[in-house]
């Protein structure tokens, strides 16, 4: 390559960052060796990297790791620990307050499908089909909390929270029966 023709910016940057193929890097490396201008450009990139790393080190030196870790431990302890499962919806546009909460609660209730397997039902392929089994319908008192009492042998197959997040807990009811609690957190 002629020394009057600078290596294009993109290629030189990829050379510096080690992002060229081996063959490309050999060719560009030769051109750099032959040109003081290119060497100076490389040196500037190296120097900038050194400056940024030195600055980052200086900033990080001011951290008290013990105090930071203590805060993290406290944060972890403060976290609820769901017993069963955390299901998260996809992030979408944040919607507005109560309307969204009610809508999502209803959506969650509708979307919850139970595979009802009553202990008294004959164990045939047909009888385990959801359409023929016992189906639970949630009663919604609090739009952000849906309490369900699944019959024995049933399980939660799917909970769709849409744009929100939610958690499925298993708790013990007043009579000692297992209850599934669906907690929907509005975001």
């Amino acid at each position: 390559m002629s020394s009057e023709t600078p290596i294009d910016d993109d290629k030189l940057q990829r050379f510096y960052d080690g992002e060229l193929t081996e063959g490309e890097a050999i060719v560009v490396g030769r051109d750099v060796e032959a040109s003081e201008l290119e060497q100076a450009r490389i040196a500037q990139m190296e120097r900038l990297g050194e400056v940024l790393r030195a600055g980052a080190e200086a900033e990080a030196d001011e951290i008290d790791p013990e105090a930071l870790f203590l805060r993290i431990e406290r944060g972890i302890e403060a976290q609820p620990s769901p017993r069963l499962q955390l299901i998260e919806g996809r992030k979408r546009k944040q919607r507005n307050t109560a309307v969204a909460a009610v809508a999502m609660a209803i959506a969650a209730a509708v979307a919850i499908a139970f595979l009802a397997q009553p202990s008294t039902a004959p164990e045939t392929a047909e009888s385990t089909h959801p359409d023929e089994g016992e189906e639970m319908v949630a009663e919604i008192d609090d739009p952000t909390q849906v309490l369900l009492d699944p019959p024995g042998g049933s399980s939660v197959e799917l909970v769709e929270f849409g744009a929100n997040t939610g958690t499925v807990f298993e708790v013990e009811g007043a009579q000692g029966q297992p209850l599934a609690v669906v907690w929907i957190a509005e975001e």
Binding site: Y16, E19, L52, E59, I72, K91
Partner: protein, 241 residues
């Protein structure tokens, strides 16, 4: 939890596996650091993640020790405020702890962590722009952190060598000022490359943009930073002091 972080934790561990497989093996090049996290370190990360998944708190602590400084540097570069950056590092490790069971041990831990940090940082900046980043609890938290005690993450007494302290502080401030002239996207990419040593492929996965965008942002960020830090980049100032 922020939605973006949640998204990160959901399934990106698996996609990171591909990223790790493609971690750059440079075909030569001038850079002395292709990636700061060596294969040996990644192997150790996997061990620590596996132990942490089994509830080993020492392993979690070691992951924190290995990465909190770098996570802080990334967060600070984006949010430009130490206390906010510390809050982000704190939240990021809490999320790591909470979701580590879902993380695939074969993936690169640091890419996952940086993605969480970056998402939290960018969320923070966007919220701040909308002028609703502080609520009452946040303000109380910051007040607490300014006094001595276990809430004081940034010590008020620095180093015994005053000259060194001053020079390092000046450098750090100059860098923060220069970073402030960049967009948050450009800040993120230059920090991930120069401070963390991530490859283009890794950065593309962390920032969820094409590699071509990474290259373009990196080029412009470097050019602007070289101009803003000309005294340091072109001069003979001792940055290591």
């Amino acid at each position: 939890m922020t939605g973006s972080a949640a998204g990160e934790e959901r399934g990106d561990a698996e996609s990171d596996e591909a990223a790790e497989a493609e971690v750059n093996e440079p075909g030569g090049g001038a850079s002395k650091r292709s990636t700061k996290t060596s294969a040996k370190e990644r192997e150790r990360d996997k061990e620590l993640v596996a132990l942490a998944q089994r509830g080993d708190s020492n392993a979690f602590r070691e992951l924190f020790d290995r990465y909190h400084r770098r996570a802080f540097a990334v967060a600070l570069g984006v949010v430009k405020n130490k206390q906010d950056a510390l809050d982000i590092v704190q939240d990021a490790f809490i999320k790591v702890h909470k979701h580590i069971q879902n993380f695939q041990g074969t993936a690169s831990f640091y890419t996952w962590l940086y993605r969480i940090v970056m998402n939290l940082s960018i969320d923070h900046v966007r919220k701040a722009k909308k002028g609703r980043d502080l609520d009452y609890d946040d303000k109380v938290g910051r007040d607490d952190e300014n006094v001595a005690g276990d809430g004081a993450i940034v010590p008020t007494i620095l180093e015994s060598n005053p000259k060194k302290t001053v020079l390092r502080r000046e450098l750090a401030e100059a860098i923060q000022q220069a970073l402030g002239t960049l967009s948050e996207d450009h800040r993120a990419v230059i920090l991930l490359r120069e401070v963390e040593g991530l490859s283009y492929e890794e950065m593309a996965r962390v920032l969820e943009v094409p590699k071509g965008t990474i290259m373009s942002r990196l080029f412009h960020a470097r050019r602007n930073m070289q101009a803003a830090l000309a005294d340091y980049v072109q001069g003979d100032l001792d940055i290591q002091s």
